[in-house]
Symmetry: C2
Subunit: 520 residues, 2 copies
């Protein structure tokens, strides 16, 4: 088994150029880079001087740093802190249409400025003749990239390299529109918290989000890249076609968690590729966990982006935890709540995967980012969800409809309703059973998703791409793709036939009448 | 690697009920059955008393035999012999519309009678209370079936068992419509020999075949099964939903050969699952093959269904072969041609896979059935195609556009043009190079397709199905699936808005005019 089918030995020393996206996206990308490095490939990462997470030095990769002004980056970091506060206020107080539209406008402006900055990076690269020549000389085998900020496709096109995406449906605009048919009737659009079983009104809402996403993509995102394509690439090149021309989409999705939907032969599912068995805990943590006895331990973390909730909410959460017989480990970057119980340990960082895999673990209180969710699925730990931003609401919803989680509305959270939710998930065995079932299905695979990801990246290196898995769909204009031109032809023919028949009948009647007139 | 992720040991002794289709379909199904048997599962095959290929006794399975009258089967066997002769005559002489329509009517009548016979088998089973009880008592884990004659879905529904299909897009009606979105703009419809890059006229033709197939399915095929569903299953059950409700589709497709197209999470690709390394040849064959020296050997076979070509064609072929320095091994069930050269060996049967894998093999002259094509791809042997019936034309076309084969129109075949084609494929290295490239891509897989098939069948046994991979699409009415109801709503709202605006403007004008009138 394994690579038994393959005649040639596995590829030796491929060279990979990586265009990552900073923040939580980098955590995933870095895992793939480590994997490539371990398998003997040489990785070069394109980063900016203002990167938060992506370090210049690493044992796993070399880097190319593009210098940007600090100002932009600060603006972005501040934005996320303010954004959460604003979202919570809006949700709590209910927004007037004016407040909402103004907030939405700010979001879109920010989105536009993030893409603008990405394009500045690409522009600096295209303008730096020495850098471009050195990239050409390096003779890379492929470009690995996060299409969240898809400048990599422009550079890959210029360097004539096949692209591999590390992605989760959402790309610049929408993976939905970009790569596979996505009927809005049962495929939830990103940003729209519905399931794959929708009522009529939910389908209307989903269609609205579908059209809205197309509009945002065409009006806010694509123009930045179209400008670059026009400036630096040969005439006739189309930004969308570059995106759609990716050879392999490594999709961080497992249908145990996501709703099943149409897909494509060049989409490879690697959901849960970060999951691995738990390692033993550090002594102090192990002691704390063991001290929980039969009641076990609850873990709480709200991920890497959010620095902290408002203090009135953390106090309510702490009060709720204090009422439970379980021990609680809470990753809290901010100030300790005043109502903290002595069953609760606050930490700035924790070995999350090792804790989730500990037999004493009973429940995970999480914001609903996908990394944490896949770890919880892998270890079969039910979740109480506190979704805050972005896709977190949709993620928790997916677990809820599978009976493996219960979400809490942070803006309505009280110690009372929170403790009730915690107790329900702790004591109703269905949550744990459903999560265990999901865990079993998720683990029941011919090979580990990380191995799958590495196999397909090496496939692209070995075979200089995977174009034979890519459909012809994206080369068609939209009206041809949907066969609208043919429908028009058929309608025209039909119309012509009807017209001819009507005309003939009219002539016939006319003649008959005339004859009748004559006879009379 | 391997099953490393899986906690539980592999399943022990699953019980599988199989509904196969006779003829060449059985060759494929039997391989899966052998695989299941080897892995320790117990297989029961439902066959009829008139089966050609499916034996009652086998070391790999038990069987349940449904008694049918011999008459029907004879009629079917004769039909294929006559059909080929008729098709060749029609193609050669050119058909008048009347001849063509009459032939097409015969084909549809035959299609209908085949499905009718399948339904008789199902009916006999449903009526046989003892048999049904014994099937219930046997407590099978799943139904493995060929949806070409989809009675298995009715029985599986009755027995409350998950279904696994062994299939190649075409099902009762069309896999295209049944399981995944299939835009007719770049997905060739079965029966329509076009590629995934179509001109406008080809797209019109493809759309015509698309609609024709829907019509045939709704008017000729489905009514048989709908009748059974109404008679034996609970009210509200829908035949199409039973088909679409299959848990896993084992698709005998590799996109090295087929055009890439939208797919679904529960479609597992096992194209080439029958391929395996060549074994040494019997001594006499090996001697003949070695005697070819540097020129090598050509293999010719037209598959299992066709008993023989008209004698004038076989004479032309033999004359052509006689002009070549290569040795030829020709599987010919009928009379030896009078023009046979002494470089040509006629055989009634041959170890095709072992010959295709022999280093002396230069070329495969084949009718273009998929089994032979996948073996040729696996071993990297270029093909000269003599397509005769069914999907063979489309199959050869797929190889032609990849530069790995050249097709010959049997009705226009002369020794002269045939020898020219043979020589072109022998001497132009691009055919062999392209086939070698396809072979390398086909073999570059994480696991052998047969292992993949077995893994997913055992997945269904282990997990009592794979419903989490099946989309919700098939539960929607067609107008909801395509969001036509929502489009209507949007249009209605738009119309209303326009109407209100027009009305308001009209009132305003009216008022203004009246005021003007008064002022004057």
């Amino acid at each position: 088994m394994g690579l038994a089918l393959l005649d040639a030995a596995s590829v030796q020393g491929g060279k990979v150029l990586v265009f990552p996206v900073d923040g939580s996206h980098w955590i995933n990308m870095n895992l793939l880079i480590e994997g490539l490095h371990t398998r003997g490939h040489e990785v070069t990462v394109v980063r900016t001087s203002t990167s938060w997470y992506i370090k210049e030095q690493s044992p796993h990769y070399q880097s190319v740093t593009i210098t940007l002004s600090e100002a932009m980056n600060m603006e972005k970091q501040d934005f996320f802190v303010h954004m959460l506060a604003k979202v919570l206020t809006l949700q709590k107080e209910g927004a007037s249409i004016i407040t909402f539209v103004s907030f939405y406008r700010q979001m879109l402006t920010m989105l536009s400025s993030i893409h603008h900055q990405a394009c500045q990076v690409a522009e600096k690269m295209f303008e730096d003749k020495a850098l471009m020549q050195s990239l050409r000389d390096a003779q890379y085998d492929m470009v690995l990239m996060d299409p969240g900020l898809p400048i990599g496709v422009l550079l890959a096109h210029e360097l004539k390299l096949p692209t591999v995406f590390n992605v989760r449906w959402i790309t610049s605009g929408e993976g939905h529109f970009v790569v596979a048919p996505s009927p809005a009737s049962y495929v939830p659009t990103s940003g729209c918290a519905v399931t794959d079983k929708m009522t009529f009104l939910q389908r209307v809402k989903n269609m609205f989000h579908f059209l809205l996403n197309i509009a945002i993509d065409n009006l806010v995102v694509s123009p930045h890249y179209n400008r670059l394509v026009e400036k630096y690439l040969e005439p006739g090149t189309n930004f969308y076609q570059l995106l759609q021309g990716a050879h392999i989409w490594l999709m961080r999705v497992d249908f145990v968690f996501e709703f099943p939907r149409p897909t494509m032969p060049n989409i490879i599912y690697i959901g849960g590729f970060q999951c691995k068995p738990a390692k033993p805990l550090p002594a102090d943590l192990e002691e704390f966990v063991e001290s929980s006895g039969e009641h076990g331990v609850i873990l709480m973390s709200l991920g890497s982006l959010v620095k902290g909730l408002p203090v009135e909410i953390t106090n309510q959460i702490a009060t709720a935890f204090a009422q439970l017989p379980q021990k609680v480990i809470w990753r809290l970057p901010g100030e300790p709540p005043s109502t903290l119980g002595n069953n609760t340990m606050l930490v700035k960082w924790m070995p999350q995967n090792d804790l989730l895999g500990h037999p004493k673990l009973r429940m995970f209180v999480a914001h609903g980012g996908t990394n944490g969710i896949y770890e919880a699925i892998y270890h079969g730990v039910p979740i109480v969800g506190l979704p805050l931003l972005f896709d977190q609401f949709e993620n928790i919803l997916r677990l809820e409809v599978r009976g493996a989680a219960k979400g809490v509305d942070v803006t309505k959270l009280t110690s009372q309703n929170f403790v009730e939710t915690l107790q329900e998930v702790l004591h109703n065995p269905s949550y744990r059973d459903n999560m265990k079932r999901m865990s079993a299905l998720h683990r029941d695979k011919p090979m580990h998703p990380l191995e799958t990801a590495l196999f397909w990246m090496e496939f692209v290196i070995r075979n200089k791409g995977a174009a034979h898995l890519r459909t012809e769909s994206y080369k068609l204009p939209w009206y041809s793709y949907h066969s609208l031109d043919i429908m028009c032809l058929l309608l025209a023919v039909l119309f012509l036939l009807v017209a001819v028949v009507v005309l003939l009948m009219y002539c016939l009647c006319f003649k008959l009448c005339r004859r009748k007139d004559k006879l009379e």
